[in-house]
């Protein structure tokens, strides 16, 4: 069952099996770490087809699911929920570096 499907536009995301990294399904049926390259479904039917396709390509990822997105003013995709925005763009603070002894 699709998760977070609140909007009209949606993409498919998952975590990569080998390292857990967040990935998105692109138009070629490949998994990409770049949100901008994600295949976009513009209605519910297209979303179902996209998710089916993702599941067929799921050997290298974990549990694909739909993510509701919007297109911002510059035409870039942006997840609707904060959780998915954080998944897509990473931590919202700077983690300390391995050799650092001071938090920057």
């Amino acid at each position: 069952m699709a998760k977070n499907l609140n909007g009209e536009l949606s993409i498919v995301s998952a975590n990569r099996l080998v390292d857990g990294v967040v990935v998105f399904l692109d138009d070629a049926g490949q998994w990409t770490t770049t949100l901008e390259r994600a295949a976009l479904a513009r209605d519910g039917r297209a979303a179902e087809i996209l998710l089916d396709r993702a599941r067929a390509e799921a050997a290298s990822v974990i549990d694909p699911f739909l993510v509701a997105v919007v297109e911002n003013d510059e035409g870039r995709l942006e997840p609707l929920s904060l959780r998915e925005r954080i998944r897509a763009s990473g931590l919202t603070f700077d983690a300390i570096a391995a050799e650092a002894v001071r938090y920057a």
Binding site: L17, G20, F93, A97, A98, V101
Partner: protein, 557 residues
């Protein structure tokens, strides 16, 4: 300096770990080859401490009873650097979480851990989790007996216990050997408090059914006094009753606290006692030899005689205000005169609480080797502890910690914040915790002001699961998601230290993220306006009630 005063694995422990790692290595291989589905693999990785979070896998490493040797801390740094992004997060359960482990590297990381007698087993799943203890165990002047001896006995009993591998829900045990509880024993599934009865015998008060999370409860005493040698039989009886009657039909009602609440403490006691009577003289009765053998592994290090006061330290105290404040908040008395217990603050202003880089871990390990008998503790308040520092060495230790950024004189103060990883990392969270902690910490960074405010514990959780212990914060902050917006619910009056366990009460409507700092500021200002001499924040709150605080937060802000 030899690190001989630690529990050392025997051949049984090492064989168990080696076999377990080999098994997991094969499971990972099969998963990567597509021979196992995620549904099949997930319970296998979880039982080895490997979670999948928002951005990556996370490895939760058990640090039994929060005790580490310098060698072990160095190895954790090495693993963080080699297999992760070079830093780790010390948790409220005295564990270490590495947030960026690759699945293919996980078996190698576990093998590296095993080199220093460590593992990640039972840091997930419905089993008895890592047993926690007072972080001042073995060194606190008020201690009756070192609780780690009993933690280790419980660890050996509960590790891969076949009967308790599929409990209704996870199970957390904490042990304190001191009347001044520093292990939060009343908010654990089972809390054990060692005490001495009027006959001079040492035994356990057994507290059952405490916990935080969705339904916070303070545990009930099932046994006022349990003879020490009967501990495992009583634990087995309690777990057996829970395993039999605990709810498996509803995840949110599956913890033992719900069972105790639903059937009542008297009925629970009756059931446990009946089971206990049937098994108490069996194989689980601990012999004096067994107890003594474990106790020998925790024999305190031989500490050379040291002066109780040192002129150089006294002079520096007068010359340097930061050192004086650090002595006041971060240094506690040791049971041996001439020694002190140093808390290493992992909460420098503006930093993520509990995080340490590999370089910082190695730095603390080096300080422990030079000045603390090679020993480090992890506290449930997400700090580290150097348990055996000579008073004469305090200036050197302070300078060394300052170079690491870990000499913030804020232990127990408003910036010594507990925070869970929150929505930045956690798949369960609804809201962020770390950025909120950072903003509060930055706002109140001025140390003299923190010391003027006095003891004030802020605890932040990013969801109702309460990993940040918000229910027992003097100020508790709970992140919630309302229609996609992060809101923060504030509660006041919680407490957990020194047997004063209390759950906080919600102050009023949740506030938006940008109002959290000003709300905390308003709470502090109210306290400063109303406090009587010697009162902590929470004491003033209890005396004057919620109204003035509520009025300042919701009326004037």
């Amino acid at each position: 300096m030899p690190d001989t005063h630690f529990y050392r694995y025997d051949s049984y422990d090492r064989t168990l770990l080696a076999e377990r790692i080999a098994q997991f290595r094969d499971q990972v291989r099969r998963r990567l080859a597509g021979e196992l589905t995620e549904e099949q693999f997930k319970p296998l990785r979880l039982t080895n401490g490997l979670y999948l979070q928002l951005h990556a896998y996370m490895l939760r490493i058990a640090i039994p009873y929060g005790t580490l040797s310098a060698r072990q801390l160095r190895k954790l740094a090495e693993i963080a650097r080699r297999y992760d992004r070079g830093y780790g997060h010390f948790t409220t359960r005295q564990n270490l979480q590495l947030n960026w482990i690759k699945l293919e590297d996980a078996p190698d990381a576990l093998a590296a851990l095993a080199e220093v007698d460590m593992h990640a087993m039972q840091t997930s799943g419905n089993v008895v989790r890592n047993v926690t203890a007072d972080h001042f165990a073995g060194v606190a002047p008020d201690e009756i007996e070192d609780p780690r001896i009993w933690c280790e006995i419980v660890r050996q009993w509960s590790t891969l216990h076949p009967e308790f591998s599929f409990l209704p829900r996870k199970f957390k045990i904490a042990v304190t050997g001191s009347p001044n509880d520093r292990a939060a024993v009343r908010v654990h599934d089972i809390g054990l408090r060692l005490w001495r009865n009027p006959a001079g015998e040492t035994g356990f008060e057994v507290i059952v059914g405490g916990g935080l999370g969705r339904t916070p409860m303070i545990g009930k005493t099932l046994r006022e006094f349990l003879p020490r040698d009967e501990l495992l039989a009583y634990l087995e009886a309690t777990l057996r009753v829970y395993n039999r009657y605990g709810r498996r039909d509803n995840l949110y009602k599956a913890r033992i606290k719900i069972l105790v609440h639903e059937i009542g403490a008297d009925k629970m006691r009756e059931e446990v006692e009946a089971e206990y009577q049937a098994i108490k003289d069996g194989a689980l009765k601990l012999s004096a030899e067994t107890i003594a053998a474990i106790a020998r592994q925790f024999a305190p290090p031989v500490l050379p005689s040291q002066p109780a006061t040192v002129a150089a330290a006294e002079a520096l105290k007068l010359e340097d205000r930061d050192f004086a404040l650090w002595l006041k908040s971060n240094v506690a008395p040791h049971r041996v005169p001439g020694y002190a217990v140093v808390t290493v603050s992992l909460k420098p202003a503006g930093s993520p609480p509990g995080d340490a880089s590999a370089a910082q871990m190695e730095g603390v390990a080096e300080i422990a080797e030079s000045y603390s008998q090679c020993e480090i503790r992890v506290s449930h308040e997400q700090n580290l502890v150097l348990p055996h520092v000579a008073v004469a060495d305090l200036p050197a230790v302070w300078r060394a910690l300052s170079r690491l950024g870990f000499a913030e004189a804020n232990v127990g103060k408003i910036t010594d914040i507990i925070a869970c990883p929150g929505l930045d990392y956690c798949a369960l969270a609804n809201a962020r915790s770390i950025p909120v902690a950072q903003r509060i910490s930055t706002h109140f960074a001025e140390l003299a002001h923190q010391h003027d405010i006095g003891d004030l514990k802020i605890k932040i959780s990013g969801c109702i699961n309460a990993c940040g212990h918000h229910h027992v914060g003097h100020i508790g902050i709970l992140g919630v998601d309302k229609n996609g917006v992060e809101l923060y619910q504030i509660s006041l009056g919680g407490d957990v230290d020194f047997g004063r366990t209390a759950l906080g009460a919600i102050l009023g409507p949740a506030v938006t993220a940008d109002r959290v700092v000003e709300s905390v500021d308003a709470l502090v200002a109210t306290y400063l306006d109303h406090r009587a001499a010697g009162e902590r924040f929470v004491d003033t709150y209890r005396r004057v009630g919620a109204e003035p605080f509520k009025e300042r937060v919701y009326g004037a802000v």
